[in-house]
Amino acid sequence: MERGMTSIVKTTTRLICGVVFIFGLYLIVHGHLSPGGGFAGGTVMAGAFILLVLAFGDDIRHLRIIEEGSSTLENLAILLFLLLGVSGMAIGAGVFFGNYLETGQAGDLLSAGIIPVGNILIGIEVAAALFTVFLAFVIFKEEEQ
């Protein structure tokens, strides 16, 4: 049984999936310089993964493995973000979510202390969360049939 959508959609997905993923990555990493940030970038990355699952489809066992993986990744990412906040209590001014890394010059890439780290962790967490939600609906649809 030919899974997923027609071959036209599959080829276009193969082409643009990488670009969408890279754009999401760009939004996350440049979160503190240009508009975007952890949430928008994470959602774009989730869109890239969802596009793949929509276009190519997969059997239910494999989907469950992917869902386990993304659910674990999501919990790890938010745990690291919490540890980032707690590490502020240990290092620096010893305060929850203290910005202890040096803040550098406002314009360049390596600036703004813990903000880029926070952006990246939140980006991973949002991407994994939305991908898990989408997979939950797909697996529910597969199980119903």
């Binding site: 940030g37 949430f39 928008a40 406002a106 600036s111 202390g113 989408f134």
Partner: protein, 185 residues
């Protein structure tokens, strides 16, 4: 600028009214999506690029999930119509019309109180900045982030962002709980 915004919001209101009255659920979801993209344009006009990007992308993910839900279930909305065709003659269904009128009266009252309450507050375009003054003056300096909104989100109010990311995790675990196959042993 204000006139442009007013036109877009009126179009959004029209779109959402159609959403609620459409017979076919899929067209309801699509007109809901268009209302969302109208909101994106409003964000751009109001100088909020961060929100425009986030709104477009979140909008697409919500539409994907909604259309997935509708494809699993049914597309027609077979609930009560306000006019019933009995033997070719159209009768007004008094119950839903009275419900409709009561709704309108309640909405008009709420609108009147809203207008009366917010008449004295700052008009559009004038904003008495107090807490945000610190974010703007200290923003680039102390947090070092050029994007002030990211500065507010990840440094001044980082605890809010932790709470908000936890909401997403709660929703994901909630969805995994609700969509699991068997509830009781």
């Amino acid at each position: 600028m204000e006139v442009l915004l007013a036109i877009i919001i009126i179009l959004m209101i029209a779109g959402s009214i159609y959403t609620l009255h459409a017979r076919d659920l899929l067209s309801a979801v699509i007109s809901y999506g268009i209302t969302g993209f109208g909101l994106v344009i409003c964000f751009l006009l109001l100088r909020a690029p961060d929100l425009a990007i986030a709104q477009i992308v979140v909008e697409i993910i919500t539409l994907i999930i909604m259309i997935a839900v509708i494809r699993i279930s049914v597309r027609e909305d077979l609930t009560e119509r306000s006019t019933i065709r009995v033997a070719g003659v159209r009768y007004i269904n008094m119950r839903s019309v009275s419900f409709f009128v009561a709704g309108i009266v309640f909405m008009a009252a709420l609108l009147f109180f809203f207008i009366q309450a917010t008449a004295l507050l700052d008009p559009f375009g004038v904003h008495s900045i107090r807490m945000a003054a610190a974010y703007m003056e200290q923003g680039a300096g102390l947090t070092g982030s050029a994007n002030l909104v990211a500065g507010v989100l990840f440094d001044f109010r980082a605890y809010d962002t932790l709470g908000e990311a936890t909401i997403l995790i709660t929703a994901v675990i909630g969805i995994l709980t609700v969509l699991r196959l068997k509830g009781r042993k």
